[in-house]
Symmetry: C2
Subunit: 244 residues, 2 copies
Amino acid sequence: MVCLMKPKIRLYVEHPLGEEQPVELTKPQAHYLFGVMRQAVGGEVALFNGRDGEWRAQITSAGKRGGELLCLEQTAPLMVPPDLWLCFAPIKKARTDFIVEKAAEMGARRIIPMQTEFTNAERIRQDRLQAHAVEAAEQCGGTFVPEVDDLQRMSALLDGWDATRRIMFCDEAKVGEAFDLGAAERGPWAIFIGPEGGFSEPERARLHGLTHAHPVALGPRILRADTAAVAALTLWQKALGDWA
Amino acid sequence: MVCLMKPKIRLYVEHPLGEEQPVELTKPQAHYLFGVMRQAVGGEVALFNGRDGEWRAQITSAGKRGGELLCLEQTAPLMVPPDLWLCFAPIKKARTDFIVEKAAEMGARRIIPMQTEFTNAERIRQDRLQAHAVEAAEQCGGTFVPEVDDLQRMSALLDGWDATRRIMFCDEAKVGEAFDLGAAERGPWAIFIGPEGGFSEPERARLHGLTHAHPVALGPRILRADTAAVAALTLWQKALGDWA
């Protein structure tokens, strides 16, 4: 179940893909494909755009500032992950990048960085995090790329929350009995991961007060936020997602 | 369930710990405590050695080249994780470091870097990886530190294998029906994680031929080796470990 490094190059493009569809490359894409990867006219590349599956495409023109490919055939259908969001409090740069990469690999459909009371981050580089999600899909054969939102306050996120989307939150205080994910209803869900230091008391009280929010324990050891994210995604995918 | 950043400093030492036990510091520990963390005589630190639990200790002497602490009281008992080994093929440096850190957090008792047919690494820095396991325990409040072995060949590891230790291996080829971890027997186990590119055909055939080895699927998406390690540790801890 590790990443298959196929010899072929996989490239994410914004362009629609389809039978005999020509696809124009941007300057950075042309630089990557012809400059870095030394490809030339006639070479083949796998393209995906997050909507139309994966397509085998042939390079029809190559230049320093651009180039064009022609879609030949679809090699994989679009595989959309279950309706799961990952809402997390950004931590240090490398670990935030890591959480986004892992959420994309593990099949989250949407990634929402959220500011909690104990979150130090005042802003994030949304474009850079989105690029990490794209890269994770490029590297690991994905055909879907989760959207990464801009940073928003957890309080505002909960103010506008649709209660039909259940919340699984990781609570280090472990009060009351553990919620049994295996017996939970399927449908739209979100995982909430707090920052180093956890959720504040008012935040915990608010989450515990929501009938659509459920505390889930992640074992007897204390986990870093990035570890907790992967562990929570695993438990959810196994119990309610597409790992069953 | 995120890492609690308590104000107190946690320090791993080799020294035995116990009631009124004086603990001498090495030069690097003194540098860290007095130079980096600006501690002085009278300051308190949490000590653990992987064997005697966590102890509150007071600084009784502080110098540039050393110092001494006195154990005051035990603040946490030793918590030994279940009898689970993580055997993994080292990948790029940052991701190998990451796997060791995560295995320590997730409660593996022993970590074995193994060389497979598709592993590029010819050697590892065992001391550096062991230091990562120590740091993970220091950061996350652990009282146990898993041992990190030197790199060994997977074939030799299996030659000397005790068949009473079951193996859960992650097989991207997903042949046959999935093994149900939830119905498996408890006891000593090991998780095998292959390199980028997976196990070779002979390696897969050998694992599939062992009655004590069981293939486990990690969902429909392809995962990087470091992601697969955390996901596999989660599934095992939930089904057979101390997360139940």
